[in-house]
């Protein structure tokens, strides 16, 4: 039971029942935001959350996401450099 997906909170639909509209790639569904409602509900609008069985279970930390992506990018670049170096070395060898 782990199918959770990131969705953006686009509106608060029922303050009393802690309901908000979430959007995933243009598809909307009302979700309960009890788990992520720490301050004013309105502050949630625009934020991204992990949606699971009709609940926003956790807010997505954009910084952490960026960090992860950056690590991936670094790894890719490092490899490219390595490859280029390997290719350069091979070329040098060939020339030699």
């Amino acid at each position: 039971m782990c199918l959770g997906i990131p969705g953006q909170i686009v509106a608060i639909t029922d303050e009393g029942r802690l309901l908000a509209m979430a959007e995933v790639s243009g598809v909307r569904r009302e979700v309960n935001v009890a788990c992520v409602a720490e301050g004013a509900l309105e502050a949630l609008v625009g934020q991204w959350a992990l949606i699971h069985v009709g609940f926003a279970m956790s807010l997505i930390d954009e910084d952490e996401a960026a960090k992860t992506l950056e690590a991936l990018r670094d790894l890719g670049e490092a490899q490219e450099t390595l490859e280029q170096m390997a290719a350069g070395a091979a070329a040098l060898e060939e020339r030699a």
């Binding site: 782990c2 199918l3 997906i5 995933v24 790639s25 598809v27 909307r28 569904r29 009302e30």
Partner: protein
């Protein structure tokens, strides 16, 4: 205007005047079938050509809700049968339309459905020539069921069939996948999802004629209805005795369809379509077939999605976007939304 009721009652199914009024006012006045007998009598030159074959098909349509973004049950009842004729290489000529109507159905709704059917039939170049209505008590059916049968003619010498597909043949679809299925899931309301997608519901008779004209060696075609692309490809692979390989990166999918599938844990490969077809043509005719398709509104987004291969006979495999591979099997039962 003998029909003063707002809703269908059991009296409209009883075989008497109320029934005749309903049939005349709502159905035959719009469809204008030839003659007054309970059978259409038809002559078609095309059928008398030596070697021509008659194509005959049927489908029942039971969609909920009856009206949805992009169409209604009447539209899919016409398109579905026109397409079943067209994908077999037949030119659709005539349709029958049988309605099973639940007591309490709004007559205005029936009129809308009938109007859509008439409009769609005209656009598809077919005539609705005979029909039937039955009324069942409340709870006896879900609103309206429509069953159409279609008769068409296959010109002499034209042979299309899944068993003719051979390795190397190219698979083309005429547009984005799963719009109809995603639309219906949202329109039903019980999953409380909404989006701006519309059903892809469309008649593909003209498009298929153009494709066959452009790619005369076209091997086979299948409309992608229940079970989606995956089921159609599996059927073809099995009938042809070869493998099929598609590429995930090439699958045309609308963001909203992907979103719907992510939310519900569904696979778009298995979502229903009502205006999509996969056509297999030899590689040398692929470009011509694509060009022919793209000349139609309902083929504008046509793309090659894969090809038949000699490996893994009977099996469909997909190269994932990451370069991995997975088997795309037939679905077992209904696709049920997952939560995990």
């Amino acid at each position: 205007m003998a029909l003063r009721d707002e809703r269908v009652t059991l009296a409209h199914g009883g075989g008497g005047k109320a029934m005749r009024d309903l049939i005349e006012e709502v159905f035959t006045s719009v469809f204008q079938p030839p003659g007054m007998e309970d059978q259409a009598r038809l002559s078609a030159e095309a059928l008398t050509e030596p070697g021509a074959k008659l194509a005959f098909t049927t489908d029942s349509f039971v969609v909920t809700p009856l009206e949805f973004p992009g169409g209604d049950i009447g539209k899919i009842a016409v398109c579905g049968t026109v397409n079943d004729l067209a994908v077999g290489g037949a030119r659709p000529l005539w349709l029958s339309a049988a309605f099973i109507i639940e007591e309490g159905t709004e007559i205005a709704l029936l009129r809308r459905i009938v109007a859509t059917m008439a409009r769609e039939a005209e656009a598809a170049g077919v005539r609705i020539v005979t029909g039937d209505t039955k009324v069942v008590g409340r709870g006896g059916c879900d609103g309206v069921f429509v069953t159409t049968a279609g008769v068409g003619v296959i010109p002499p010498g034209r042979v299309m069939g899944a068993e003719r597909v051979r390795p190397g043949d190219v698979a083309i679809v005429n547009g984005v996948l799963g719009d109809h299925g995603a639309t219906i899931l949202a329109a039903r309301g019980d999953l409380s999802i909404s989006s701006a997608i519309k059903s892809d519901c469309a008649s593909l008779g003209h498009l298929m004629e153009a494709v066959i004209a452009a790619a005369p060696q076209a091997r086979a075609a299948r409309d992608l209805t229940r079970g989606g692309l995956a089921s159609a490809l599996n059927e073809i692979a099995e009938a042809a005795g070869c493998g099929i390989e598609i590429s995930e990166a090439d699958l045309p999918l609308r963001a909203e369809v992907v979103g719907t599938c992510e939310i519900l844990g569904l696979d778009p490969l298995y979502l229903a379509n009502e205006g999509r077809v996969v056509v297999f043509v030899p590689p040398e005719e692929a470009q011509a077939a694509l060009t022919a398709m793209r000349a139609f509104a309902e083929g504008r987004d046509a793309v090659v999605i894969g090809q038949a291969v000699s490996a893994h006979a009977g099996q469909v495999r997909m190269k994932t976007a990451l370069g991995g591979a997975r088997i795309v099997d037939m679905l077992v039962g209904e696709q049920l939304p997952r939560i995990c």
